[in-house]
Amino acid sequence: MTEIIQKVKNLSIGFKSKKGEEILILRNISTNIKKGETVGIVGESGSGKSTLALAMMGYVKHGLYTIGGECEFNSSNLLKMKNRDLEKIRGRKIAMIPQNAGQALTPNLKIGYQIDEALKLHSDLKEEEREQKISELLNKVRLPSPETIALRYPHELSGGQQQRVAVAMALAGTPDLLLLDEPTTGLDVTTQAHVLELLNFIAKDTGTSMVYVSHDLGAIAQVSDRIIVMYSGEIVLEGPSRDILKKPIHPYTYGLLKSIPKLSLAGLPQSMPGSQPQPGTMQRGCSFFDRCDFSEEKCKSNSPQLEYLEELNTSVRCFNHKSLMNDSQVNQTVNKIKTSLQDKEILNISEVSISYAKQNLLDQVLNRISDDNPTVKDININIKKGETIALVGESGSGKSTILKSIAGLLRTKGGVIKFDQKRNLPSDLKERDPNDLRIIQLIFQNPDESLNPNHTVEEIIAQPLKLYFGLKGEELKKNIKELLQKVRLGEFYMSRYPRQLSGGEKQRVAVARAFAAKPDIILCDEVTSALDVSVQAAVLNLLQQLKEDFGTTYIFVSHDLAVVRAISDRVAVLYQGRLCEVGPSKDVYQFPSHPYTEVLLGAVLEPDPDIKPKLVAEDIVEEKPPQKGCSFQGRCSRILGDICKNEIPPWQITNSGNSIRCHIPLKELQKDQIN
């Protein structure tokens, strides 16, 4: 009954390889977007989801071309339309919010001006009407006091506010269809939840159809009525959101949902082996064959067709979907983590504070840092040998800063970092001896940046081996091979360059390089956040395995609370460079919690339509930690008054050994958190 506003028919898009072969990025895609509907397109990087979304507004990226099929909007094919006609549709009828749209606002123009430009371009409003419309739009995206916001520059807004402005600009032309490419990726957990909630509201309020493109099933679950799952350029599953998340009848989706860590489950999720085939390397048969747990002989040589199942209103591309239909309550099993915790403390961080403040001349001469309100302050953590301790908090909470100081990359302003209960590690890298440097190794967030693009895998792993152990020749080669084996990569990877590896493989090489130094402590800075979910679980499992083998201690920084839950023994929650709560994982994830931990836990997006995020506090961002009192006072919904503003809250310790730093007594804290 509902009207279809966008009809994609047998769409194939591809490019010509250097050898002249036609390589398909999208293979025969057909789907309809109905009026007022929100559709989520999920898939890992390289599955073609962005290409599909762009095609829906008649845009094919440079270098690609349409091989066949059409995208019909208002009964005309966008892909055949002239640019002049497309311009009338784009922005007015179909609007798009590209990835990182908030950050892409023009930095030197005021917000109001930028929205006005969008209105001039995409609407026929007159000048007086536009002014009115600007505040209306800013109101609609729930920005506080639109009049003042309109006069600000983008850098004067927080990430979430910038994203809201991008949404307001997209709504300027009152589009019928809104395409959103990774609308919340890169935003903080708390901000994500707020932005999605706003988009949900707008969809209901205006009746705009929305198409979300994301790799994040958690985000998609919160907003979409219908989900399209893409795998290597094809639709493999399409149906009502709830069914797909609760009863995925395609093995890929099934595996994907199982590999996502959940807040409610401690322990590592099962990983999905392998990776998506690159375009152009597709064999005959089902493209998921290599990774499928349900495959049969016939899947190898026959490609399954997309089959529409009337009773479920679902389309699926799999010969075996029936066997999944009966038991596909994604009953997740997790590998319980074994703790190899020893009683010996390996790293004592006491009273550490770190400042980014510019030193003035006098300070430079006296070689001191004077800043009475440093970025990070009063950090006290004692880490046991073999433990995995996680630092969590929003962006800017000082997690990476603390890691850098432990590694010696950033001088501390004060405090002591003691190794093995005997040696104080000098705060300056230059003063540390080679062994001090060897015992602490780092793994970074983005393996694209942490591996030198001009070195082969062999050269990358050889570096620490040569530096610390002086290995050469055959011995060196042997060690490299062993390390590759440890991270489950074959010998033939030695001669590859990073650009020839997938994201997960690159991260494995980075892990091998860290372990090459035989370190006692490994600092992991967001090591899985640049990876696809299906790969993330594999890397987490690998890290856990290696830790059990070598007895390594991990300090694990992440903004993803579910991942932290899966891997860590203990969690430290940071806000504005100050500790709020430190305790064993299972207690931190239970109430009573510090009010900030409660906010973080509430905002987690789970791939389950029944678990909605709870939005406790505003998603405002503070520039600087407060001078005195509790660090969280600016956003705390339970603030007591002057005591919170003036006095640093005391540490309160629960029976299970969880420390919470708040003025509210534990009993009372818990009372309001139960429900």
Binding site: G63, Q278, L409, L429, Q441, N446, S450, Q463, R513
Partner: protein, 297 residues
Amino acid sequence: MKLDNIYQEEKKSNFTKVSEIIITMASRPSGFIGLSILIFHVILAFISPYIAPYDFKAINPTLMLQAPSAEYWFGTDDLGRDVFTRTILGGRTALTITFFGSLIALLWGGLLGIFCGLVGGKTDDIVMRIVDAFLSIPWILAMLLIVSLLGTSTEVLIPALGFFYGKGIVRVARAATHDVIAKDFIVSARARGHSNFSIIWYEIIPNVRDAILVEGAMRWSWMLLGFSSLSFLGFGVSPPTPDWGLMISNARGLMSFAYWSVIAPIVGLSSLIIGINLTADAFAKALGIDRSTKAPV
């Protein structure tokens, strides 16, 4: 989405890498033309002493300003010397001096740039101020000063040109280093405790090399123009050495009635500059670098 992942390549020897780059350069029409011109000039510079039909310094007043003929292909100049002989020999000095000049420019400019990019902070500020101050001096005045103080021998010209044309390379090398330095693999090397030398040599240079080489190639054509201007003004090589700049300068008064004595060296000089330019352009494209420096012609 990384499309080039499809083309799995194995580690290549330096020789294959260089030949691949040359093939890519030559596969573009402009690159092919540029390379051909450059190679033609280089070969000519090597063999010209052996193929030159006449003695380049033989003065013969009876043959003054002859028009081109079967005997004297490009005619003769005001002293009766064969213009063809002088033209094919005229690029030798210019090519040699500017080639070595460019190498010197690459070396000091590249290293200083990388150093500045690496240390950053105050040192970087001060060094860049000095470099900027030098950049603002009209180079030709400074060159004239140097040449008049130290003479016009090759030993003076090569380092002097190398010095002046290295300034631009400092900027490029510094910017490229800045981009690399922020990457985590450098942080990682620092955290492991590698020495500054090893970080520069092993981590930075492979990543900035291409940008610096391209800039060096560009500087070469600028330098050629500069060197010829010096000769033109009489401050380059000294007569009777055949040199395009000098030849143009000598014959420019005769333009109206003995055009041949001017045309030949002009064609020689401009074709070489264009050749180097096109080659540098193709080189940049083959390496996948967007060149922002403008060509001198």
